[in-house]
Subunit: 287 residues, 2 copies
């Protein structure tokens, strides 16, 4: 099962599972790493979560998520900073490799994209010292431009690196999420740039499927169901020196309606089939 | 009505109208320019179309569209080139300012995005001499990354300019379509670059609306209904030296279901309200 050594289950992929259920599911499936979400973490608290994760022997590839820094007004900004400080504390408490930052979209009724990006930058700058104090690495996640308006004004890896490079690499990195970046004509150059600066904090995979489901938030597919060449992405991040976990994060109503243990079995199979550089004998085991 | 001097109706905005109907509609509405689509053009033929357009005194801001150059195989490639040659002849025949090029997506089942982009580039290179012979300018249209898989692997203005700059500016330009490029963190820099090289062949406007309609192809909104700051885009292309037509191209089921004369009235009002740099007295007239 060596092939699974770097595979991480992002909890969102098994959305119906609680954190204890997801941890137990990883153990059953031979998965050694997990990406944790804040809401299910809050349900059981960081102390219990840390205990369960340690007992299971899992790594925590990420905590999802901080961010949403684009709001206007003093009180909204203060609330966002406070929420992110809590996220940093949680990430430190469960030993997460990074805190994924989804920066936020345009405020309701606003058309001022440059202004939202300014607030994103100043919000990140305000959080870096806090994260540094707790030894937590912020992982800036560029999001597919389908989400620029309502979720993440940070749209490209290049833009994420422009921000990250203002800070030490151990404090601010970037997420290379196949779904979000696959279309980018600068992908190869920017992944190389990220690697040269030791900025790749997380590598996530899930597929771009067409036709796009009606709810774009749930438009991500299992690897192999769409248009992305994951093996190419694996080669790019590997050439850039990334050796960390490979996290599968799928928002998809059909996946969420399936039995989570079945989802993990499919995920393992597709990971070997579509992501890892060579075919393995895993198919026979998983089939 | 001076304010409407640069406004152009892209025929797709009034999708239920034939070309003669759209021409007559422009005349009724005081719109002096039209963007023509090939299918309705074919219904009446280029000779009759040219006559109607000349009689109406309209400019033709664009012919939509050439492209779809990413197919594999000799016969598919030959068919694409032949279709584009016909499009070039049609653009010349009706005196279109440019032929808009939607380059095409990934072939069915393919995940080879770099390969598709290579075929796009070689297809364009093959067509430039033909377009030059007929005095037609090719306008490369970067498409929103929501369409990378199924419609246009050309995703950014920067990438479009990288290609266009291999050829004389009078032969190959780019389309700045607000809907497709508004999210781009490099928008300001790339519009300036396009202007410096005299590469802006077309400026199109329509809005990014949320939630995105279920059929993403029909997800474009009337200016003012979404998140785009058109006035900023107007300022950017103006600073870049663009003085040509401003074309309104809206794919939207609700717009298409409305009375086209009403659509034109709304379009004129929103153009003054959201696109032009200062408010005008047009509201009173259009209200």
């Amino acid at each position: 099962m060596t092939d699974l050594a770097r595979l991480s289950l992002n909890q969102k992929t098994t959305n119906s599972w609680s954190l204890p259920e997801a941890i137990a599911g990883c153990v059953r499936a031979g998965i050694e790493s997990i990406g944790v979400w804040r809401e299910p973490l809050a349900e059981i608290g960081v102390d219990r979560a840390r205990g369960l994760i340690e007992d299971a022997g899992l790594r925590v590839s990420s905590l999802c998520r901080g961010g949403f820094l684009t709001g206007t007004g003093e009180s909204e900004r203060a609330a966002a900073i406070a929420s992110n400080v809590n996220a940093i504390l949680e990430a430190a408490a469960i030993g997460a490799d990074c805190l994924v930052m989804v920066v936020g979209g345009l405020p309701e009724g606003s058309r001022d994209l440059p202004g939202a990006r300014d607030r994103m930058r100043s919000g990140i700058a305000a959080l870096v010292p806090v994260a540094a104090d707790y030894g937590v690495r912020l992982a800036l996640e560029p999001m597919h431009p389908i989400f620029t308006a309502d979720r993440g004004v940070l749209a490209t890896l290049g833009e994420a690196l422009d921000i990250a490079e203002n800070f030490p690499a151990e404090q601010v990195g970037v997420v290379v999420d196949s779904f979000h970046v696959w279309w980018d004509p600068q992908l190869e150059a920017q992944v190389a740039r990220a690697g040269a600066g030791n900025r790749i904090a997380s590598f996530q995979v899930c597929d771009w499927i067409t036709p796009l489901p009606a709810d774009t938030l749930l438009s991500r597919g299992m690897m192999g169901d769409g248009h992305i060449d994951f093996r190419n992405h694996f080669d790019l991040v590997t050439a850039a020196g990334y050796t960390g976990d490979i996290e599968v994060e799928i928002f998809n109503a059909d996946v969420w309606a399936s039995d989570p243990d079945d989802v993990l079995a499919t995920m393992k199979q597709r990971y070997a089939e579509c992501v890892l550089p060579t075919a393995t004998t895993l198919f026979a085991d998983a089939g």
